[in-house]
């Protein structure tokens, strides 16, 4: 696949888990970047083209909701598909994310849930596979 992926999670273990899911599903992205919080993610966005971002919400320094707000303000959401992977269950917050075009995957998730989500996103996206 020609897509560039960014994983934003303060847990190195969760970042490794997602990389493992990609390997298991034989999803070979052009590049996979990692960030431990929203600030680090913005630094990646400043220098790299990111097609698909997996974003946690509860993170130190800058959380996922603040990151998404910044991405919306700078127009990045028009070129980057974002999947929030979180323990968040509040319907209002999830609805607001979905209105921004954000996809939502609740924790705990199964590897196949991630694959289905990626297929869904690539199916509706103009990002070349």
């Amino acid at each position: 696949m020609s897509q560039s992926v960014l994983i934003v999670d303060d847990s190195p273990l969760m970042r490794k888990m997602l990389r493992r899911v990609f390997r298991m599903a034989e999803l070979e992205f052009a590049s996979i970047h990692e960030a431990g919080n929203g600030i680090e993610a913005l630094a990646v966005f400043a220098t790299e083209q990111v097609d698909l971002a997996f974003v946690d919400i509860n993170m130190p320094e800058m959380n996922g909701l603040e990151l998404i707000q910044r991405l919306a303000e700078t127009g990045k959401l028009q070129t980057t598909k974002v999947v929030v992977i979180s323990t968040e269950r509040n319907e209002g917050r999830i609805d607001r994310l979905k209105r921004l075009g954000i996809h939502y995957l609740p924790k705990p998730f199964r590897p196949e849930d991630v694959c289905v989500m990626i297929d869904q996103i690539l199916g509706e996206s103009e990002i070349p596979r």
């Binding site: 303060d10 847990s11 190195p12 273990l13 969760m14 490794k16 888990m17 493992r20 298991m24 509860n58 993170m59 130190p60 979180s86 323990t87 968040e88 269950r89 509040n90 319907e91 209002g92 917050r93 609740p106 924790k107 705990p108």
Partner: protein
């Protein structure tokens, strides 16, 4: 949450999360049993309809099992040692998310903090009436407490 949750709910949610996240199967155990050896401890504050914190302590062997299973690697892999604290923190994070949704519902606004994790040679958590213990067939142990008003 202290007025809304029961130890049964806490135990059910924790056991389910352990199964779903790390494929670890447990049974309820006696909270009063003495804790021997070290532990990986984690605390996560929450605020919403009620304020408090969730506290967990896991035996090092159980924490290693979490890390190994979550990463899909053998338990004797050197990376497991590096990830045990992270694994316990992530486990607590998922337990907290599942628990607040079950207790407060999905319309309540709840803020969850970031897990604070540490390894300790001896573990002696604060007393709480909302404590549960879970144990694997191999004797690996986890205790979970709700500490009211800690947030």
């Amino acid at each position: 949450m202290s007025t809304s949750v029961t130890v049964e709910t806490l135990s059910e949610v924790a056991a389910q999360v352990l199964e779903d996240v790390a494929f670890v199967f447990t049974e309820p155990a006696a909270v009063a049993a003495p804790w021997s050896g070290g532990a990986i401890e984690a605390t996560l504050a929450f605020s919403g309809p009620e304020r408090g914190a969730l506290f967990v302590r896991a035996s090092p062997g159980l924490a290693a099992l979490f890390a190994a299973n979550m990463l899909g690697i053998e338990i004797d892999d050197p990376e497991v040692t590096e990830r045990t604290q992270d694994a316990v923190g992530e486990m607590l994070n998922v337990v907290a998310g599942s628990l607040v949704a079950r207790v407060f519902g999905t319309s309540a606004l709840v803020h969850l903090g970031v897990p604070q994790v540490r390894a300790t040679a001896s573990s002696d958590p604060a007393a709480s009436p909302f404590s549960v213990a879970l144990m694997t067939d191999e004797g690996e142990r986890l205790e979970l407490q709700i500490l009211a008003g800690e947030a």
